[in-house]
Each structure stands twice: as C-alpha cells, then as structure tokens.
C-alpha cells in the first residue's frame, strides 16, 4: 500500500477496491501508524470504488488520531460513489475534501 512522505506531508493511497467491513481493519493497521508522524496527511481515495460504514469508521479513526496531535488531514480523489457517502454523513464538517491530488498537496504545504 503506497505511503509517500515528503516535506512533512504523508500521502496515503489505499489500494482497496472496497473499503468495507472486510477490509477496514487492514486499512487501520496499515495507515494508522504511518500517519502518526507527519504534520499533514492526505488520504488519496482514487483506487477505492466503494466505502461502507465500517470503512467510514476506519477513515474517521484516522481523522481523529491526526487531528488530536494537531496535524492536518484532507481527503482527495474520491470516486462518485464514495463522495455520495461522504455527503450523506456530512464528512466535510470534519475534513477538507478535494477533487484532485494537486489541490490537496498545495493545501497541505500551505
């Protein structure tokens, strides 16, 4: 699972097609520790086609852990289906959501 770190920004790109009850634990195991050092985290969801409530729970845990250590976190490149879920739960109240990765990187470095 790609985790790229540069200039204090970690870009996490899960390669799960489905981030759901079957994969949520793996997601937390892989990306939870990786996001604990950098001042900003970008979650690139371009590879994820579907997120269910368990997957959402794993994302929320990542967001909470990042914000609790006063770091920043953003999400980018979410597929249409995933965007629908985020709208339904009003995730934007907690996390900045960008369509493109470049926008997210600029925000993280800014």
């Amino acid at each position: 699972m790609p985790i790229e770190t540069s200039d204090g920004v970690a870009v996490l790109t899960p390669e799960f097609k489905h981030l759901d009850i079957l994969s949520a634990k793996d997601f937390s195991g892989i990306f939870g520790p990786a996001a604990k050092a950098e001042r900003a985290v970008i979650l690139d969801l371009s590879m994820v086609q579907f997120v269910d409530s368990s997957g959402l729970g794993a994302i929320l845990n990542l967001v909470r852990d990042t914000l609790e250590r006063d770091a920043r976190i953003a999400i980018c490149c979410a597929q249409p289906s995933v965007k629908v879920l985020f709208r339904m739960v009003q995730l934007a109240k907690l996390v900045t959501i960008f369509d493109g990765k470049d926008q997210a990187l600029a925000w993280a470095k800014g």
Binding site: D20, S53, V84, Q90
Partner: protein
C-alpha cells in the same frame, strides 16, 4: 363425642361441635331452645342452625329463627318430604344434596315454594359421622340468600343488558361494512363477541381504482367505555380522512397523513381519559401492487406471499394512540402480488388460551393461515374461527376480530434473483448483484447519486444481515429485485434474527462515531424497510423505493 369427619367453617364448626356434644348426651331428644347460652349464640349469627336425622330428614334440633325462615316450626317440618316446602324446580337438587350429606359436606341453594318474590335459602350441610360410617344426623347451616340472590340476578341482568348494548354498539358504531365487493380484492371480515364487550373496531374505505383502505383497532380495556372509545376512534379516522380529502382536493390522502390527522383529533382526549388503542391503518393499491401501512402497536399483519409460499409478520414501530400527545408516524410499504393474502386480526385470536392456559399464539396463527392459503377469504376466516374456537374450547376472553384480503390485481413486474451462501464471504458478490439490478432497473428512474445512495444502503443491509444472523447450520440466503412502474423492492430472504432496524438518527460526525451509520444510511436511501419474521427462523428483509411517490413529490 362423635368424631367429625371434616374440617368445617369456623362458626359452623363451632355450632356443630356444640350440637353434637348435646346430641351425644341426648341423642333422640328435640333440644329445648330456651338455654340462654345457645339462644345468645344463635341470635348473634346471621344464619339458622339445625340438626336433622339423615333419614327421613326429621328436624331434631333448630336454633331460633327456624320458623321465621321456613314459615313452620321445626317440629312440623321434615326434609324427607319437600313438596309444598321447596320450589319444584329446586327439589331435586336439595334431595340429592341431602342424600350426599350423609357422607360428605355439601352446599345447595334453593327457593322455597310460594307466591311472589322467591325466597332463596342456602344450606351448607355437614354429616355427623359415627365411626366413619354413614351419618345418622346432618348438621345444617341455613342462610337466607334472598337479598343477595336478587342482587346477583340484577347484576347478571345488567351484564346481559351491557353485553346486548355492547353488541349493538359494535354492530352500529364499530364495525364497518365489508359486504361490498371491492374491485381487485376478495375481502371478508368476522367478529366474534366475547362475554364481555370489547373495543375492537374495523372499517373499510373505497378509494376507487382498486384502492382500498383497511383499518383495524383495539381499545384498551373492556365494557361500554371501551366500545364508546372505539366508536370515537373510528369516527376520528373517518372525519380525518374526509377533511384531508376536502382540504387537499385528493381522493386518497397519504396513509401517514390520515393517521396524524386522526391523532390530532383524539390523542389528547385519550390521554385525558387515560386510555389508548392499538391500530393498523393500511392501504392496498391493486394497480400498484403495494400495501402501505402505519402500525400503532397493533398485532402484526400477516402477509402470505404466494411467490415464496411463506407467511410473514408485518410490524411497524409506532406506539399505540393515546400513549403520546403526538408522534412521528412511520409508513411502511410492502409489494403484494396476485394470490397474496393479508390477514389482519385482533389479539383475541392469538391470546385465546386452551385448558392448560397456553395461548393460541402468533406462530400457530401464521401456520394456520399459510396452510389454508388456498381457501377463499370467507372460508379462511371460517377455518381460523373453527380452529381457534376449538383450541379455546369456545371460551374467548376477548373479541375475535379478523379481516382477510386476497389480492387479485397484477401490475407488470420485472425481477431478478440470486442465491448466496449466508455468510460475510458473500457480501461483495451480493453488492455486485444489487449493482447490476440497480443499473439495469433504475437507471432511467433515479439519478446516479440516488442510485449510489441506494447501493450504499443495500450494502449496509447485507452487511447487517451477515453480521447479526450467522446460521448455526450453513445455509443460503436469497436476494431478489422486483421493480414496477410504481416501486422498486430489494429483498433478502435469510434465516436469523429480526433485530431492530428502524433507528435512523444520524450519529454526530463531530464525535467521530465508530459505528451507528449503517441503519441511518439504509433509512436515508430507502422509503420503507420492513424486516418480517416468518416461520421457523426465516426472515424477509424488504427495502422499497416508492418511485411513484418520488415522482409525485
């Protein structure tokens, strides 16, 4: 002293002891009544005591008051010849009681012979045994029951009157007329009044164009108050429906609106009166092939589904009307097909108990309806009546009210189904199946965003089923998609639990909830979610999108 074979009531026992003690000393004498201790004792009792010979019933001794009671003195009366003394209809029972009284205590009520108001006496008799042999004497405890008996008779008369009035109230005010033929449906109803008046009420409203509203309610308690409340409730619904039709200029106001409007008319009064009723108000739409209903704590509606050959319990989530000043009503929708049957009933059937006290129960009723689903609506009700009546030995504690409706209309339906092992390993395959169904069946009627939200909901539902219903023996579940012009329904037939699916509040995202979104997402995307238990652990999950309402909305 002669042995007493039985433990007797205290005052009677005391007197018999005294009488026997005296008799033991003077076995054949008629005791004088002028002894001060006996006179005072006897005068303090609300009864007359006598000792008679077992055969031929001669009075050996009697306390003061005997003559006043019988109209003749003890020396001129014999219980061996009751003609002219006892009412002819009661002679047999008194003779039999006296005969039995030679070996065991007895109690008998009878009328004295004579004109005018009958005088009722009650005798409790106790054999005075000698050495365990049949009694030569019987001690009698005699009470005048005329006043109490008359009170009892008046009470019975009043109750008969109440039952009679109640039955008339039910016929006139509580029970709608189902005799009319409704196009698209075969309909029958029955009410068996119990010995006490109940507040069951039913009604039918013809919405035209193969639309039929059915209402069945059950008021708390019994008696005329319950019947009057039932009449008021029925009236509230009739008026609420008419007012909504008039205000909105529509022939069929939404079911939920009717219930809410009726609530406004009556819930406050019910709370003041500290009473309530359960109710299921439903609408069958033959052309759409849909049954919409609001359930206020009533017994389940049974849905026999011909397609699967199974019976399912339809249950809502609202409280009985009168529990709360107002509540948010949830309307559910379930597709119905030709040959399907809806069975609405009051708890008088399911709570009918056999001689061991075991209730007839919902599961037994469900089996009965399913196994007789081939009968016509009238014949089915007859069958249920017969079986339940036999089960309860004809002794229903509550009214038995039931309605059976068979659906005849057939809207055009497209469908798809697939079977999966009931396990979390099937989750992604099941989601893929639902995606194919949505893409093929709903791409023209729902926006892509709505379709995605539906797929999210379907995934959540499947996940819930696989997580909470793990079969002890591995088995399959069956997913099904059915779509008409008016609705789209996603089914999952599985084995397991019917845990609470109705909660729909969104968790506060700011608190980083670790769970709780599943049911919220399901209820956000679907117009109706029903989880219906069937027989032997089978469950039907039906998630419906009301395309017609969305188009109208």
């Amino acid at each position: 002293m002669p042995p007493l074979a039985f433990v007797l009531p205290s005052a009677a026992a005391l007197f018999v002891l005294i009488a026997c003690a005296v008799l033991a000393r003077r076995p054949s004498a008629l005791l004088p009544l002028d002894g001060p201790e006996y006179r005072d004792f006897a005068a303090s009792l609300d009864a007359t005591i006598a000792v008679i010979s077992a055969d031929p019933g001669r009075v050996l001794w009697a306390s003061p008051g005997f003559e006043k009671l019988f109209g003749v003195g003890p020396d001129r009366l014999s219980f061996g010849s009751l003609e002219g003394l006892v009412h002819e209809e009661d002679r047999g029972s008194l003779e039999a009681a006296l005969e039995a009284g030679r070996v065991r205590p007895f109690e008998v009520e009878f009328r004295l012979a004579g004109e005018g108001e009958p005088r009722w006496l009650r005798i409790r008799g106790f054999p005075v045994l000698r050495g365990g042999k049949a009694a030569r004497r019987i001690a009698l405890w005699i009470e005048d029951r005329s006043r109490r008996k008359n009170d009892e008779l008046m009470l019975v008369e009043a109750l008969d009157y109440e039952v009679s009035v109640g039955a008339r109230i039910q016929r006139a005010l509580l029970l709608g007329n189902p005799e009319k033929a409704y196009k698209g449906f075969e309909l029958a109803s029955m009410t068996l009044p119990s010995q006490k008046i109940d507040g069951d009420f039913i009604d039918f409203f013809d919405g035209g164009d193969e639309v039929l509203d059915l209402m069945l309610g059950d008021v708390m308690g019994k008696g005329i108050p319950a019947a009057l409340t039932g009449a008021a409730a029925r009236n509230a619904f009739v008026r609420a429906r008419l007012a909504l039709m008039d205000e909105a200029k529509v022939s069929r106001p939404p079911v939920k609106d009717i219930v809410r409007a009726a609530e406004r008319r009556i819930a406050g009064k019910l709370m003041e009166l500290r009473t309530f009723f359960t109710l299921v108000y439903g609408r069958l739409d033959g052309r759409e092939g849909l049954y919409r209903f609001v359930d206020c704590g009533h017994t389940s509606v049974l849905h026999f589904e011909r397609r699967t050959g199974r019976c399912w319990k339809l249950k809502g989530a609202n409280a009985p009307m009168g529990f709360l000043p107002e509540q948010e009503y949830t309307e559910y929708s379930v597709p119905v097909s030709p040959g399907d049957l809806l069975f609405l009933y009051s708890d008088g059937i399911t709570e009918a108990a056999n001689s061991e006290g075991e209730q007839f129960g919902e599961d037994r009723l469900m089996k009965l309806v399913r196994s007789n689903s081939g009968l016509g609506a009238v014949e089915l009700l007859e069958k249920v009546k017969h079986i339940a009546f036999s089960y309860a030995s004809g002794d229903f504690k509550d009214d038995v009210t039931a309605v059976a409706v068979r659906i005849a209309s057939a809207p055009r339906i497209r469908r798809a189904s697939r079977t999966f092992p009931q396990s979390m390993d099937s989750l992604r395959g099941l989601r893929e199946f639902y995606r194919e169904c949505v893409d093929r069946g709903l791409s023209s009627s729902l926006s892509s965003e709505t379709r995605e939200s539906v797929l999210i909901a379907l995934g959540e539902a499947a996940s819930n089923v696989f997580r909470h219903s793990v079969p002890e023996i591995p088995g399959d579940c069956r997913a099904m998609f059915r779509v008409s012009e008016a609705w789209a329904a996603f089914y999952l037939y599985y084995r397991g639990s019917d845990y609470e699916w109705q909660r729909s509040e969104a968790p506060a995202i700011e608190s980083f909830p670790s769970g709780g979104y599943g049911l919220y997402l399901i209820n956000q995307a679907m117009d109706s979610v029903t989880v219906s238990p069937g027989e032997d652990g089978a469950v039907r999950l039906c998630m419906l999108i009301d395309l017609a309402s969305r188009t109208r909305g």
